[in-house]
C-alpha cells in the first residue's frame, strides 16, 4: 500500500454520478497547487470518471485503488 499523504479527505460514500465529480472539483479549487485530496466513493462509475476528470481539468490522479467495497483516489491539484 502506498503511503500517500493527503491534505484533505472528501467522503462521497453512497453518492452516484455526477456528485463525486462535482464535490471533488469544488474541494480541489479550495486547495493550494501541489496539495493532495483523498476522495472516497462507492459509485462504480467513479474510477473511469475520475480519470476523465483529471485529464479534463489538468490535475493529477496520483493513485486509484479499491478498499473492499470502496474506491479511493488521491488527486493532486496542478493548476
Amino acid at each position: 500500500m502506498t503511503a500517500l499523504q493527503a491534505e484533505r479527505t472528501l467522503d462521497c460514500t453512497g453518492m452516484l454520478c455526477p456528485i463525486p465529480v462535482i464535490k471533488t472539483s469544488k474541494a480541489i479549487k479550495e486547495m493550494q497547487v501541489g496539495q493532495v485530496l483523498k476522495m472516497i466513493a462507492t459509485d462504480p462509475g467513479a474510477p473511469a470518471d475520475m480519470e476523465a476528470w483529471a485529464r479534463q481539468t489538468g490535475n493529477e490522479l496520483v493513485d486509484s485503488h479499491r478498499e473492499d467495497s470502496k474506491y479511493v483516489f488521491f488527486l493532486r491539484r496542478l493548476k
Binding site: M15, C17, P18, I19, V21, I22, K26, Q56
Partner: protein, 173 residues
C-alpha cells in the same frame, strides 16, 4: 479539427426541450459536471424544457408513453424491490398515477444516492452555467422572466447558435 488554442476552456452547448423528471436529469447532470470541470456551458431551455427554470420545480414523470420504464418499489425487502410490476396501460391514465410514479421514482433516486434536479440546478448555477430561456416559447406558453430563477437569461435562436457555433459538444435533449 485541431483546437486553435489549447488553453481555451472547452465549451458545451445543450438544448433542453423536455420538462419531465426523467428528461430533466440529462441536461442538468451534463451542465453541472462540465461546469465543475471548468467548461463554458450554455443550456437553451425551449418548449417544455422551459418549466425546468421555474422557481419551484414541478417536474413529474409519466409512465404513459414510456412503456420501457421499470415499475419498481423503492421500499421493502430486496427481492420485493426487484419486482417489475406489470401495470396495465389503462391504469397509467388514472388521475394521480403520475404523482404516484413521480413519488416512487424520486424515492428510488434518493435511496440510490442520486442528487435531486434542484441540487443539480443549484450546482449548475454555482459553476457559472449560462441558463437561457427561449423567448419565443415563453411568449407561447405565457411565462414571464419573473417566473424563472433569477440567474437565467432570455434569448432566441441566434443567441444560442452564436454560443453553440464555437462549442466542442452540442446536444439536443
Amino acid at each position: 479539427m485541431a483546437r486553435s488554442d489549447p488553453e481555451k476552456p472547452r465549451r458545451l452547448a445543450l438544448i433542453a426541450s423536455k420538462g419531465t423528471l426523467d428528461w430533466a436529469y440529462p441536461p442538468f447532470i451534463l451542465a453541472s459536471t462540465a461546469g465543475a470541470m471548468g467548461w463554458e456551458v450554455g443550456v437553451f431551455f425551449t418548449f417544455y424544457g422551459l418549466t425546468l427554470l421555474l422557481k419551484e420545480l414541478e417536474a413529474e414523470v409519466s409512465p404513459l408513453g414510456n412503456p420501457a420504464m421499470p415499475m419498481k418499489m423503492p421500499f421493502g425487502p430486496e427481492a420485493f424491490q426487484k419486482i417489475n410490476w406489470p401495470i396495465p396501460t389503462a391504469m397509467m391514465a388514472v388521475p394521480g398515477f403520475n404523482a404516484l410514479a413521480t413519488t416512487l421514482m424520486k424515492q428510488t433516486f434518493k435511496n440510490k444516492g442520486v442528487a435531486t434536479i434542484s441540487e443539480l440546478r443549484d450546482y449548475s448555477v454555482e459553476s457559472g452555467v449560462n441558463l437561457i430561456a427561449c423567448q419565443m416559447t415563453m411568449e407561447v406558453f405565457g411565462f414571464q422572466k419573473e417566473d424563472f430563477i433569477p440567474e437565467c437569461t432570455v434569448g432566441g435562436a441566434a443567441t444560442f447558435l452564436e454560443f453553440a457555433s464555437d462549442a466542442d459538444v452540442q446536444l439536443f435533449i
